[in-house]
Symmetry: C2
Subunit: 297 residues, 2 copies
């Protein structure tokens, strides 16, 4: 761990996918309203949809139309989730710039939530990477339960590193590590970074209130890619007690103060959060959305 | 800033005062039920009452009886809040081991909330320290708005350091720094510690979700005393948008994982939080209370 911070990081905004997928379905135009507000705030990457069965995740139906509208809008990397080769093919056909694929570091979580072993899931990853390569589309592989699992408890960093290596072998362009159940801590982050290096994205949740502590520890560890969700929405419906993603407003409020450039304008981001609040019609679990920036603009 | 953490810290549990003072008044026996549960969890210092006008803070009436019951219980430092010489005299008479006194680093906050300048407030501090000295009771001086103020915005660390020095000159036994309005960040903490040294307690709020990030940054900076509030209750009724104190369960969950000894048993602490939940009859803003420890015992 260092005591210096990186000069800049890339935030990948996942609200239109990770946030909205747990809400009542919204129209393409409503979803694009949120995406436009986020693009105006300066994000260079936005996860906008999911190429999965609309029966399983009704709120992510019509993601191809959302991606198409995003490509017309332009100005940011358009990211879509896929779970298998068919989803990846649909995502590429829709025009995404990047696919988020997934595999778990936890055998128990993999079995419970996908009815597949990690090994079986990696076969799908390989297929998705092949589809991505053929279509000239990057594949970011999100490793769930990278900091622990409700099934096995602690997962040794060396075990996670094995999955990272298998994912790289399968052709993943980049790797992200997800704290699916809020078990990440600065200790675990430090130990994992020693095994896998700093060229990973981090995807944190607020299940145990550690989101910003973990972002800070990751920055000190040299990480420069983070996911965050406007308004703090999201969270796996499969992880017991899982709370939302770390709120993007909180991350930007912190990083602005630390002098770490995110490229994101906090005031415009809060405008997007207000739009999201009106769209979903309920409270958002985002302290900075409620309290405002620490120093008003 | 260092990259090593202290082996142990002292947590001062402030829930029975800072938490309960914003709730509907509870009986002495109800308040003692919470204190007993906290003492059983292992705290060496508990702030249990406030020696202020019961008209101003009805929930803190009968604090002398609470202190008396705590002394009979024994096993921890009994802490009470006072705002002036009369309150300090009452606190000493009731038998507290430590008085928490206060002054603000923000002239605007001091004027708005106490109708006194910082200079005038320091006269009261001097009086309280005199009362404490005469009674053989320690006085911890809590400096509010130490990390910024909604009135002046940033407050220069050198200005805060001046107030710290005046408080030491006035006879304060120890100093604590309060993030009254959630403006503390790891940057501000580092800058302030350079000015005032590490022999300070930290009192953080979750107004902008930074509580645990700030605890972690303070630990890296060498701080070994922290306030926290069971269930995350509390928060100044005078600070716009202020959310509760950092939840003790979250701090212990984090520090257990970091290998920093708190002397507090997390499972018993969660029992105390459950008792508090039943006592106040509403949701508690504490992620770890909802999600449980990261690894179940």
């Amino acid at each position: 761990m260092s005591t210096t911070l990186p000069p800049s990081v890339e935030l990948r905004e996942v609200g239109p996918r990770d946030g909205l997928q747990v809400e009542e379905p919204k129209s393409v135009e409503e979803r694009m309203g949120l995406v436009r507000a986020l693009a105006a705030a300066g994000f260079s990457a936005i996860e906008v949809g999911s190429f999965v069965s609309p029966k399983a995740v009704p709120a992510m139906a019509q993601s191809a139309e959302v991606v198409q509208a995003c490509k017309e809008l332009g100005g940011f990397r358009v990211v879509g989730v896929a779970l298998n080769g068919r989803g990846a093919t649909d995502a590429v056909a829709a025009g995404v710039d990047e696919i988020t694929a997934g595999v778990s570091a936890s055998e128990g979580y993999s079995q419970s939530n996908t009815n597949m072993s990690i090994e079986q899931a990696l076969v799908h990853v390989e297929k998705m990477c092949e589809v991505g390569r053929d279509g000239g589309v990057a594949v970011d592989l999100m490793i769930s339960c990278a900091f622990g699992s409700p099934y096995e408890g602690e997962i040794a960093p060396s075990e996670v590193a094995k999955v990272v290596q298998l994912a790289r072998d399968a052709g993943a362009t980049t790797i992200s590590l997800a704290d699916t159940t809020g078990m990440a801590t600065p200790r675990g982050i430090g130990e994992l970074l020693e095994e896998v290096g700093t060229d990973v994205g981090m995807h944190f949740h607020e299940t145990r209130g550690t989101g910003l502590a973990n972002v800070y520890a990751s920055l000190l560890g040299g990480v420069t890619r983070f996911d965050a969700s406007v308004g703090g929405l999201g969270g796996s419906p499969f992880a017991k007690g899982a709370a939302g993603n770390v709120a993007t407003e909180g991350v930007v409020n912190l990083l602005d103060d630390l002098g770490v450039d995110t490229g994101v304008d906090l005031v415009r981001l809060l405008d997007a959060a207000t739009l999201l609040h009106d769209l979903v019609g309920h409270d958002l679990p985002s302290p900075v959305f409620k309290a405002g920036p620490r120093i008003a603009a």
